[in-house]
């Protein structure tokens, strides 16, 4: 397997930790200041003990008694400079970049469940940036490039594996759409490649390109796309943000938004009232519910999106394959499971479980393209609630309520966007208005008709 060796293992840093060995030795002689300089993480006020190969050796020598909790579990303070609702990837990344890029550390992230327990922990971990529209390419490529060294930045192995993402063209229409996207990618400087069925067969030997129902006519290949461990992305951001002073408050459900004539003044939660002048809602499928509390409506609908995994098998596919026509998205996890993402249900749903027929449709179609999976047993199936916008592009922007910011609408493709989305949202929360990366995704595009149409660009029925 070409890329699997890069992934390292588990929560203790793995490969990513090794690069910091020299820095760590230096810092041990240079004291705490040395650690701060070596890591580049600003103001480690709460003192995060670095993960490294030395740390493993040290702990091995003392029965692993020295590992700390990865993040603090504080009670909420009376007031924060900014409150982020939702401790998923996007919310935690926003908090991290607020602290790291803008020096704003008096921040709370409130979460009704546990961090990373929503769509962050339910997706199929695909990372790519070969979108059609310029503003989409900008934010997704920013995100993908941040993923490249995120393990080093966070000192937490997120197992980013740029194994390549292959998007199949299974209709003539889709093939033309990928040609158009490929040209757009070239103009934007995003590395992607239009590939023939023969080249696809080289990249994915287990694929059947002949059809008859869903022949593979070509594809769009992004070699630096790939996967990462989704839980680790949430945990890594949480740990690094917490170390810089961000309070992550779990099991704290927001029950109301307080506001006066000038704008937001705070929130009501199951752990009491918290005051703030800046509130950023980053809650994916529940965005409409939170917006309703704040007093406005969003152009989103919440639906269930499903995924499933097979029993683990030996390595057979070392890239991600996306069959958009049939809504089947497959990769092989480091454990060996075939991870399969399916299509979204057509009706509004908040139950985090989808309809069985979608699983059946996805698997039935994938079996034609990957005959070898026909005898696989599927182990688990689950759903997440995704917030779909009309143009299938996200919303990052200010809202009708002064001081309330929104980051939502990532729909079925939010995981890949976590670092870039957090980066852009942190800029907006810090400045009070979005900068260039987020500006096109503002809420008023639906009034102005200024769509960022990735719905048509996907060349499939949504």
């Amino acid at each position: 397997m070409r890329d699997y060796g890069r992934a390292g293992h588990g929560c203790v840093g793995g490969v990513s930790g090794l690069r910091h060995e020299a820095a760590l030795i230096e810092s041990r002689t240079g004291g705490l200041l040395g650690i701060r300089e070596a890591t580049g993480i600003r103001g480690m006020a709460m003192g995060m003990r670095r993960y490294s190969a030395f740390a493993i050796a040290r702990e091995a020598a003392r029965y692993h008694t020295g590992w700390e909790r990865a993040w603090r579990s504080p009670q909420p303070k009376a007031e924060y400079d900014a409150i982020i609702v939702g401790a998923g990837g996007h919310g935690l990344a926003t908090a991290y970049y607020l602290a790291k890029n803008h020096g704003i550390t008096n921040v709370a992230v409130v979460e009704k469940g546990w961090l990373g327990g929503g769509n962050t922990g339910r997706n199929t971990t695909i990372i790519r940036s070969n979108y059609l529209q310029p503003s989409s390419m900008a934010v997704f490529e920013k995100s993908r490039s941040l993923y490249e060294d995120l393990s080093q930045q966070l000192n937490y192995n997120i197992m980013f594996s740029p194994r390549g993402v292959l998007m199949l063209a299974q209709t003539e229409h889709e093939k033309r759409a990928w040609e158009r996207t490929w040209h757009a990618n070239r103009i934007a400087g995003i590395e992607s490649e239009l590939v023939t069925p023969e080249r696809i067969k080289e990249i994915v030997p287990i694929i059947e390109t002949g059809g008859p129902r869903y022949p593979v006519l070509g594809g769009l290949w992004q070699p630096r796309g790939g996967t990462a461990r989704h839980d680790a992305v949430a945990w890594g951001y949480a740990r690094a943000a917490s170390a810089m002073g961000v309070d992550i408050i779990q099991q704290c459900e927001v029950t109301g938004v307080d506001r006066d004539a000038d704008g937001v003044t705070g929130i009501q939660t199951t752990k009491g009232a918290i005051r703030t002048k800046k509130l950023c809602i980053v809650v994916a499928g529940n965005s409409g519910v939170l917006a309703d509390m704040a007093g406005f409506r969003l152009p989103v609908e919440s639906v269930a999106l499903q995924a499933l995994v097979s029993e683990p098998i030996k390595p057979c596919m070392d890239c991600v394959v996306m069959a958009n026509t049939v809504h089947g998205y497959m990769s092989q996890s480091d454990k060996g499971e075939m991870v399969i993402g399916g299509g979204a249900d057509g009706f509004n749903n908040y139950t985090q479980r989808g309809s069985f027929q979608h699983i059946e449709e996805t698997v039935r179609a994938l079996i034609e393209t990957f005959p070898m999976i026909s005898r696989l047993k599927m182990l688990r199936q689950w759903g997440g609630i995704v917030d779909m916008t009309g143009d299938r592009s996200p919303i990052i922007g200010t809202t009708p309520v002064p001081g309330v910011f929104i980051n939502c609408g990532w729909g079925t493709g939010g995981f890949k966007a976590i670092p870039g989305s957090g980066w852009a949202t942190a800029e907006m929360v810090a400045d009070g208005a979005p900068r260039a990366l987020a500006a096109p995704f503002s809420l008023d595009r639906f009034t102005e008709g200024r769509m960022i149409d990735e719905s048509v660009a996907a060349a499939v029925a949504h």
């Binding site: 969003l298 009706f347 509004n348 749903n349």
Partner: protein, 107 residues
């Protein structure tokens, strides 16, 4: 999996026999409307976590459209009714209230 009864032909089937059509009782805004009205008509769905009124089509049956009242949090279907109305029928309101005593129809 949802089970719906088509009020047009009376057949009860599971959801693969039907096709969802989004929020019901939309008021159409076209030429002459304001930008905000047109945006609301096109995009601003209610998207509630709870009671939802929506359109369905009996796609693999009689082919006709109808309305359903359903809970998006439990997937419970309270009832279905004709699409030829802009008012929610009283028997549907009663059915919802018997299951959700705190629920009130929006004005």
């Amino acid at each position: 999996m949802l089970k719906l009864t088509c009020p047009n032909c009376g057949v009860t089937g599971e959801e693969t026999e039907f096709h969802p059509g989004g929020e019901a009782h939309l008021k159409r805004f076209g030429p002459g409307s304001s930008d905000d009205e047109f945006r609301d008509y096109l995009f601003q769905r209610v998207n509630p976590r709870g009671v939802h009124f929506e359109r369905w089509r009996h796609q693999y049956g009689c082919g006709k459209w109808f309305h359903a009242a359903r809970c998006t949090q439990t997937l419970e279907v309270f009832g279905t009714y004709t699409a030829q109305t802009s008012e929610i029928p009283q028997n549907i309101i009663d059915a919802i209230k018997s299951r959700r005593p705190d629920w009130e129809p929006e004005a």
